[in-house]
Symmetry: none
Subunit: 246 residues, 2 copies
């Protein structure tokens, strides 16, 4: 069985306070393909809130590991990223979360990785940060740096997911129109411009440049060119056959 990089990355919550936040963290993790949750010394949690916020991701909580200390939570890890919004002693050697995501993914080839988040009110303390191989910061506005816990997890999990390359962009199933077909369509339009009286011959080149500029900004598929060709031909036809006069 193939082992996926994200299966080697655990999210560690140190002394999380609110069941709702933990549920919300589970949902964010599952959205981004993470499955391994470790709680360090959690209090008794409000399970109703936890269930409500986790939606169908409650399995992540059910499969959690609980340990009394951060040291135990990351004992087998080769790479430990500790998130911190604060600046100061030891905290200025920070990677931003996008840089860390690359590091973390590379580390999964060599061992286990942890990403650690502090309590909602205070964040990680200096003793926790000491145990990290990397300090990870999430870019945020100087006006208001404190992210909600589950949102901080979401941004980190999102960067890991994108870095892991799991995401397969939606594929186009229809072929691009070849040059020849596009040119037939442009020819039909240049005829339609004259036939409908949209412009005279002397302005035609200028107007066709405009239309070419508009229609070559993105790719054009065969169905696209069919629509455009059909519209031009129909406008020519309509100009020669008065459909709507009584």
């Amino acid at each position: 069985m193939e082992i996926k990089p994200l299966d080697h990355i655990r999210v560690v919550l140190v002394k999380p306070q609110h069941g709702g936040n933990i549920g919300s963290v589970c949902r964010a993790m599952k959205n981004m393909g993470l499955s391994r949750l470790v709680l360090v010394d959690p209090p008794t949690l409000d399970m109703d809130e936890l269930r409500m916020m986790s939606m169908t991701a409650i399995e992540l909580y059910e499969n959690r590991v609980e340990v009394p200390t951060l040291g135990e939570a990351v004992a087998d890890c080769v790479c430990v990223g500790a998130t911190s919004a604060r600046r100061g002693f030891y905290r200025h050697h920070a990677l931003d979360v996008r840089e860390f995501a690359t590091e973390a993914l590379e580390s999964t080839a060599r061992g286990e990785v942890a990403l650690v988040f502090g309590p909602e009110d205070s964040g990680l303390c200096n003793d926790d940060l000491k145990q990290a191989t990397h300090i990870v910061c999430i870019p945020s506005s100087p006006e208001y740096q404190a992210l909600n816990l589950s949102k901080a997890v979401m941004v980190c999990a999102y960067e890991l997911y994108v870095a892991a390359g799991n995401f397969v962009p939606p594929e186009e199933t229809v072929p691009d129109a070849p040059h020849e077909f596009r040119e037939r369509m442009f020819t039909a339009w240049s005829e339609a411009m004259v036939d409908t009286g949209f412009c005279k011959e002397d302005k035609l080149d200028h107007m066709m440049m405009g239309l070419r500029r508009i229609l070559t900004r993105g790719r054009l598929s065969e169905p696209d060119v069919k629509i455009l060709l059909g519209l031009a031909r129909q406008a020519q036809w309509a100009a020669k056959n008065d459909l709507n006069r009584e």
Copy 2:
């Protein structure tokens, strides 16, 4: 006074259901330097939850704009990104949120930008998506694609904030066409399709979706939209006046 790109980007929530989510959106926006919130047709909201979740970002709610329709929310925008997790007809031409962030920042040099999110339970409907210049998707695990509303906003706002940090505005000499002008052009085309006999009423929506898809692949300037509007009007006129018959 220097105007910052993020000040030209509004977050539009279409029929948001829960006060708590709106508060949480305000906090995420403020974390990422966004300040402009527009609510489309919101219900009566639970203000206690809203206040609790917004923390010190309640000012964003207090400064919100409320409008009855999405059209009004984005009327003056040159770039309208609609978020969608679902796949299917019309939704496969999506940019991922990182690509969109670059587009959006560039567009702020030319006008206003909107990023639109649907109701918590259902997301944006096809009629909403029609009004967008870009469909924006957030990479997420196929196992569980549905992001909580405020988390979806957080990921998008984070990408915009990061993109804004490296942003050098390009110079543009012609203005982008605002939403309202583009919509007049699309209306003229839908009339022209019928008047020229290009298609019957029952195929009109399908054909218009095709045309919208083609014409929203790149930016449309005011001169571009003038050409397209002129062509449609002339085709209508020609269908009613036979120019070329002897």
